[in-house]
Symmetry: C2
């Protein structure tokens, strides 16, 4: 299976993190965003949104980082990270939507503005980040993991942009339940550390 991948992308890191934790072998195809490779074939044919990551498994193509997590965890993860019962899937799905929407438009956007020249309102993204971290902290005050009482792709979808928050000038230090959850996740066997920006 091929993963079209950008090292600095938090959305690509979600997939690399699951692959490492679940010992799933992937062939990584680096994509040069600065050369616009994601806007041209083959990638523009593979993903209608022209984004990374994209997974290619033979003739099957999956775009969207959350969908790739479902695909890999469901086909290769042996039910450890994505259960077969719909009650557990729905519980995880809440946090996949939270990652696709709330986290993307707060912590991820703040980082895009600060590190990659994305044009948007940084103060607004910071304010949304405070809301997102508050929701997470209150939930994690009474839960060890985001869903189903154990590590799942819910945690893997949400962790990357929380771990990368400082690169968007968002301080996670005040959120002690979030901090403890990150420490638990980072202690899992085969944990893969976040990407470092080249300086």
């Amino acid at each position: 299976m091929k993963l079209y991948d950008v090292d600095a992308s938090g959305n690509c890191y979600k997939v690399r993190l699951l692959a490492s934790l679940a010992s799933i072998a992937l062939e990584y195809i680096p994509v040069d965003l600065s050369a616009g490779e994601h806007k041209h074939p083959p990638l523009s044919h593979l993903n209608p949104l022209g984004q990374v990551p994209v997974l290619e498994d033979g003739s099957r193509v999956i775009w969207d980082s959350q969908a790739i997590l479902v695909y890999l965890a469901g086909t290769q993860g042996g039910l450890a990270w994505w259960p077969a019962h719909p009650q557990g899937q729905a519980e995880i799905m809440q946090w996949l939507s939270f990652a696709a929407n709330e986290v993307q438009h707060s912590l991820c956007t703040a980082r895009l503005i600060r590190q990659f020249g994305y044009v948007a309102d940084h103060a607004a993204a910071q304010a949304r980040s405070v809301t997102v971290l508050g929701v997470l902290d209150r939930h994690l005050a009474t839960h060890e993991w985001l869903a189903i009482g154990r590590p799942s792709i819910a945690d893997i979808a949400v962790y990357p942009y929380v771990a990368l928050a400082d690169e968007g000038n968002v301080d996670v230090a005040p959120y002690r339940h979030v901090q403890r959850w990150m420490t638990r996740l980072e202690a899992l066997p085969r944990f893969l550390p976040k990407p470092r920006l080249e300086t």
Copy 2:
């Protein structure tokens, strides 16, 4: 099962539409957003994001419209709308993320601005709507349904804000493949029409 519901909400309409198509009995609890009921108990305790819809099934609570679709389709829908195999789930998941992120921040936001006094840039939301409708139209040029070759919760998650686009001053008429997909969906047995705003 109780659904905390707002009639005019496209996200609540997603759930009502699945319930109708799949003949799932729900008890609807109307929520008065103008009175701020979603920001106070019991709703603020049930959903950390303080939003509708919320589903309560005995002691189990599911928030996020996409997660509720997974829950209801998975537990009550007999595999018709959410298959058991992860390949199909991942294909659908692509469009659940698209509904949670791209559709929400384009067609839904344009409608919130025009109809509900939401403060945001309408021209930007319209421009994002054009991108979203273009992605849908190109996909639907070669696919009858968004995923797995048959109607699924992918279609149910994306349809509502496309059907309500005119209330955000977005014109869907130029997108003929989208139009034909809407007509196919509206012809399904037990289809439930979109809510009408009180005038």
